[in-house]
Symmetry: C2
Subunit: 202 residues, 2 copies
């Protein structure tokens, strides 16, 4: 029979799905979407490849589930900096610290995000989830910007949509350089943001 308490069963299944999704994320971050097979994912977990179809209908559902879990981690990255900063300079410093830390610390995770976002341009099945995460990220940037404006007594000169796109473009260039082995990548991202940001909020 199934588990005595249904809630427990759901939890157990959900936990295993989460476990497998974590292995999938790690694999995708290392190999990229184009080179990742289900056997690669299973090899990074403690199970065999067959179990993936026990917990997920197919590959698309597995990756979709991955992306959903990934989302939760990302979209709160700067919230602490927003909450603790008492001056505009402090906020910028906290933002830059966090941004460069994630650039050098988790570059593989970020290239995965860009990879999946690109896949959504080809594969409609990914579009809804990608758009949702993108919106979360945009709002996160929006919180930073509006707090900055508040602290500095100024106001944003551009919409938060545009702001997010701008910062994302700068970050993506830095990520390309970081992954190409450029040791100056983080520093020049810092410089570029400090160059651009004051122009857009003043």
């Amino acid at each position: 029979m199934g588990p005595a308490v249904e809630g427990r069963a759901v939890d157990k299944v959900a936990q295993r799905r989460s476990e497998l999704a974590a292995a999938a994320l790690e694999t995708l971050a290392e190999l990229g979407y184009a080179r990742t097979g289900l056997r690669d994912i299973a090899a990074r977990s403690e199970f065999s490849h067959g179990v993936l179809h026990y917990y997920f209908r197919d590959k698309v559902e597995l990756i979709t589930h991955c992306v959903r879990e990934y989302k939760a981690r990302c979209a709160t990255r700067y919230d602490e900096a927003v909450a603790t900063a008492t001056t505009a300079e402090e906020l910028v410093a906290g933002f830059l610290r966090e941004q460069t830390a994630t650039l050098t610390g988790e570059p593989r995770m970020h290239r995965l995000w860009y990879d999946l976002r690109n896949q959504s341009m080809f594969e409609p099945a990914f579009r809804a989830d990608v758009a949702e995460i993108d919106l979360l990220l945009e709002r996160m940037v929006g919180r930073v910007v509006s707090r900055y404006a508040e602290l500095s007594g100024t106001r944003p000169r551009v919409s938060s949509t545009a702001f997010y796109a701008v910062l994302d473009g700068l970050f993506q260039q830095a990520l390309l350089r970081q992954l190409a082995g450029d040791p100056e990548a983080a520093a020049s991202l810092r410089a570029a943001v400090q160059e651009v940001l004051p122009q857009l909020v003043h």
Copy 2:
């Protein structure tokens, strides 16, 4: 024996390589890197799949050659607008016209570019070519910006590297929306650029 005049032979071979590269570009733009096989490419040409290894050592060289041909087309997109504009407003108008035209007219080609640029984050074999194209695009943007500054009697407030990253970020967001079927994608790109640009050059 081979052709009588070696120059002709090279031309012939180069032409066929170009022909096959064009078919490859079309296929990649339609299917994306992850889903494109050599047989798909051959099917879009008038030859069979075996010929690809006659003209290219392997898949990587084929795609690399594609990307190199693609580069030539892209990096001069705004040059005419730069050359003909006599006022700053005219230049902006020409830039925006060209940008929105390419967004709605060749979205598949642009998603391919972003796809390949992302692949270079995983596959070192693509890095050199991608970096080279990115540099060409950056310089193209640089020409637009410096001409704008010249015409308007102002000066750029940020480096051309940052400028390129910013515009690229805006374009990428618009492309995502365009491919998701948003009919407002081009209009909001226009709006965003007009919002951001004056802040960065004034």
